[in-house]
Symmetry: C2
Subunit: 413 residues, 2 copies
Amino acid sequence: MDGVTHTRTTRLERGRGALGPALELVHTGRAPTRAVLTSELGVTRATAGAVAAELEALGLITVDAHPTAAAGTQGRPSHRLFIADQGPVVLAVQIHADGYRVALVGLGGRIVATTSGCGTIPADPARILSEAVRAGSGLLRDSGRQCLGAGLAVPSAVAEPDGEALNPLHLAWPAGAPVRALFLQALADAKVPGVTEHVGFSGNDVNLTALAEHRHGAGRGARDLLCVASGHRGVGGALVLDGRLHSGSSGLALEVGHLTVNPEGAPCHCGSRGCLDVEADPLAFLSAAGRTPGPEGSLLKQATDLLREEYADASVRAAGELLIDRLGLGIAGLVNILNPDRIILGGLHRALLEADPERLRAVVADRSLWGRSGGVPILPCTLDHNALVGAAELAWQPVLDDPLVVLEGERTG
Amino acid sequence: MDGVTHTRTTRLERGRGALGPALELVHTGRAPTRAVLTSELGVTRATAGAVAAELEALGLITVDAHPTAAAGTQGRPSHRLFIADQGPVVLAVQIHADGYRVALVGLGGRIVATTSGCGTIPADPARILSEAVRAGSGLLRDSGRQCLGAGLAVPSAVAEPDGEALNPLHLAWPAGAPVRALFLQALADAKVPGVTEHVGFSGNDVNLTALAEHRHGAGRGARDLLCVASGHRGVGGALVLDGRLHSGSSGLALEVGHLTVNPEGAPCHCGSRGCLDVEADPLAFLSAAGRTPGPEGSLLKQATDLLREEYADASVRAAGELLIDRLGLGIAGLVNILNPDRIILGGLHRALLEADPERLRAVVADRSLWGRSGGVPILPCTLDHNALVGAAELAWQPVLDDPLVVLEGERTG
DNA sequence: GTGTTTTGTTCACATCGGATACAAAGTCAG
DNA sequence: CTGACTTTGTATCCGATGTGAACAAAACAC
């Protein structure tokens, strides 16, 4: 009741095995109380209590002192479990077409602090990464929080196991830039407190969007989640299976941009024609609507603004419907291959879904085999800065897998 | 040394947690000795010894009395672990275009006994299933083995969670036939000893081929395994991820037959044109080679015979290359989406691969993004009766997950 | 108030696997 | 052939972890 006394370390270690799963439940908002924790973990109340006490002792969660009685329920009210107010954070970095954004992200995907900058030297990945990491390091110093890791999101396929950005199309980076190594180097140079050499992770931004939405957004509760999004140029996809990102044997899974959705379509750099990449991205939409891309605002912003503000216009509507049909064809192909529980859409595709939800769902259902798997729910992304939160998820993963190893390592190191 | 005395049941239960993983290692041939078991499980020699003793006491494995010294190694020779000679089996049933085949399958994918029959009434799934199960029941009686479950393979997509055959194209069955329920009913009617109501599983034959090859064939050791095969009509796909079949949220994943591989191709019943289903199956090959399907022998047999015996013929060779190119395009599309470790091909596609391995690999590499994931190994299936062995794998799975629960249940039930 | 229901804690206990020491069975060097 | 070395297998102790039962606490129902 009055806090663990810490006289015996043996006592502290109680429930170590269930610690990770328990933290993950709190992290994803599926364990509001110890009672729920008990049933979700499938353990006894004694164990759940010990686990919660342990997580509290580690400074990761807090248990409210005065339980609030839920209306209409009998029995003793549950104490609620919260993510600790001043708990540790991870550093998340996102590189995009216009620069970078960094954030400190706590458990539960909570953005504690964030800042951004424009990429003055977009052709030099090392420089922008080091600039971003320095900004993050500053945030960290100001916040006074403990840092347990770092994650990076880039708008490119990232090849495993070395973490090279294979197609940083709209960054003017050299193809094959070793972003993971550069990120680790930047972390080491900035001497970010708490970030040791083995806690830097990186991934494709759509992958990380999917991960974030799965844990904290529209994908919560789905077992197999497919995410499709278009940000600037091209189309990206991602798949979460059983709570884990599926990035394939060399990190190159879900490169969905080259599904054929229009056999008579425009030629694509891949050698084929009518690929999703060139038929369903912001530029394709602007062209279809008869607009010329302007100099200000990203292609995504111009396209989504047009969709949201001028959908009554016949040419805009026709362009929207054309893109919905093509996107639907691509998604139906993916549904036939992957048969996911749920699909979430980001970027331009989210705007297309919101402009005419029924049309997209109808196209997907129509082109899916036997209609059954075509009934899959299609939802828009819900989180702000989801790629950033996803990058943080990568960094949190070791803690969720085994909180003690990471935190004890911090303590002793 | 001289067998467990069973005086204390507590002794018997030693190492229960590691029992399933250990059995799986022996089952898949990855644990020839206790020493290997120790390292593969990541436990101490003491635990591995206890686990092996427990598996032996359960009658699942045997340990040889006199260890054979491996040449050129120092130290005490290891006793080898074998799958028990007279251990339990599962009943596997496969329905195909020409009838059925049943087998008793032991651990390690070993076919202990098998028989087959032709489907006299192909339009009536209940009747052929009951005939097959009766044949299996006879095999079981003759063998005197204990039976721990049953599995069924059908040449159709099987929808979860109810197990309906959605497209039994070449069986003349009604679409949507509840094959799982019918199979369970047939098992109950035949009163197959040891097969209780909850141990009947069913799945698509290509899925089960992939599972069998992953465990015991060309897919061994792969983490993410893609299988593509064409038997009679159409093309099927399957995916094994982390040792588990990925069949999607409603069992309809990997319906790869409707990937577009020839935009100007023949119309498909799905409404599109140039689908893999109609461009790369045995009928497509025979047509491309200018042959008319004859009345005797399945389409698959006619096609593979032609490929193997007359590949020197210019028209056959041209047809083969045409199909390889289309198949390669389809596989490249899948590689871009799934990025598997390894690909295995069955049926006609296996024959195509064997006719000209380099051409297929070159096409896949050429059409895969960045070449990297195009370097994925492509291999032919290696097992006999692989769908049957895969059906058995489904039935073995509960035993591999927890041998004690299944075997204790048998004992007490 | 007195029961009932649900939540949380304490404590004894069983289970599981690790660590260590020891025993066994071979190779290798002389 | 003998002894040193290497590797495998076993016995035993012990710590880590979670269960079960009993008890206590905090609400509602009457």
